[in-house]
């Protein structure tokens, strides 16, 4: 299912007046958390995700009235994705110009610092009670699946590195991870995606 957020495919009239700040605020309350999670996944940087989320809702204020109410969620994600891509292109250009003026050691230090920033401000997306519930789910996983999950997500090792460490095929590691995530995602569920 696609949504371009454009006016009246079904002939339904679209408002010509801009959305009020209260209406935009209400949209943020409904969709903001999911949008922020989406942007964190795309940009892998919490600061960038917040910046782009803010830009997205600025666009909603400017032109959100042009979207149909029943497809506003799709419109929001579309705008957010396009803004994220624009942000990333700008960052790549800025990063490249910085790297040109640094030596190798400084460049590696800059890259590692950017990675650490991904973990900042987790509490905006993750709630305390969710952490407790997931802790119990993690502890209930089979040992081999739990190990792969911890090594990949907490230790940030690649699947290939984990497979080499365990002396098992890469496909085995991927299967263990997939099965583990299936069980964990049941807790998140499709109902928990802001619908």
């Amino acid at each position: 299912m696609t949504d371009d957020g454009g006016p009246t495919k079904s002939g339904q009239p679209v408002s010509t007046e801009r959305l009020s700040p209260d209406a935009v605020r209400a949209l943020y309350d409904i969709h903001g958390r999911d949008l922020l999670a989406f942007l964190s996944g795309v940009l892998r940087n919490s600061d960038a995700a917040e910046d782009v989320c803010q830009i997205t809702f600025q666009r909603v204020l400017e032109s959100g009235h042009e979207a149909r109410e029943e497809t506003i969620r799709g419109w929001l994600f579309k705008v957010a994705f396009h803004e994220a891509m624009a942000y990333r292109r700008k960052q790549v250009r800025r990063h490249e110009s910085q790297l040109e003026s640094l030596d190798l050691a400084e460049a590696e230090n800059l890259s590692s610092r950017v990675r650490v920033e991904e973990l900042v401000r987790v509490e905006e997306l993750v709630r305390g009670e969710e952490i407790e519930q997931l802790k119990q789910l993690l502890a209930g996983l089979p040992a081999d699946q739990q190990f792969v999950v911890r090594q990949r997500i907490q230790e940030d090792k690649t699947f290939a590195a984990i497979a080499e460490e365990l002396q098992v095929p890469l496909g085995t590691v991927l299967t263990r991870m997939r099965l583990a995530i299936q069980k964990l995602q049941k807790w998140f569920g499709r109902d928990g995606r802001g619908k």
């Binding site: 299912m1 371009d4 989406f38 987790v122 928990g192």
Partner: protein, 179 residues
């Protein structure tokens, strides 16, 4: 074995969030994100899951498993042994205390023993006093000490061995008459 469509999408989204896709697969998936709401929501769910797992795994209480857990199991064995050893030592100490307690007679002397105890106590006190006279020569002070209610002049072992305040036949306590 092919996965259901939604599971395939979720798995792809997780790999995308973790940065595990090749450049070509990543570009293809991002083209999909441009106008596929379901794919966007899969990325959102995967992102939140990864962050929550990181937070949960970092928090205390989640036991580590797999090859990295060998050192942990060894330390767990050590602490279990220490706990067992503590229990054994504490039990032995309790047993010794109980044994010591049973050596000490707790039953009050019988009525027929009261008179003999009184006589023995008096003799002991007399002997003590004569001994003190020979050693220190100040009987009056010792008498004062003996006459007073203070127990400083009479050694504790004597008091423990012979009670100067024994229960009477009718249950009332009476003091032993000193000679």
């Amino acid at each position: 074995m092919s996965l259901p469509v939604d599971e395939q999408r979720d798995w792809l989204a997780l790999q995308y969030v973790l940065g595990e896709l090749s450049d070509a697969d990543r570009e293809a998936f991002e083209e999909r994100l441009a106008d596929d709401l379901a794919a966007c929501e899969s990325v959102a769910a995967a992102s939140r899951l990864v962050l929550t797992v990181r937070a949960a795994a970092s928090a205390k209480g989640v036991p580590s498993v797999g090859p990295a857990s060998t050192a942990d199991s060894r330390s767990q064995t050590k602490s279990a042994f220490s706990a067992w050893l503590s229990v054994v030592v504490a039990s032995a100490a309790m047993a010794l205390l109980c044994l010591f307690a049973t050596q000490t007679p707790v039953n009050p002397p019988s009525n027929s023993d009261v008179a003999s105890v009184d006589h023995a106590a008096a003799e002991l006190v007399s002997l003590w006093r004569s001994g003190m006279d020979a050693d220190e020569g100040d009987v009056d002070d010792m008498d004062e000490g003996l006459d007073s209610s203070s127990e400083d002049a009479v050694p504790g072992w004597m008091l423990a061995a012979v009670s100067l305040e024994t229960p009477g036949i009718d249950g009332t306590s009476e003091k032993v008459q000193e000679n």
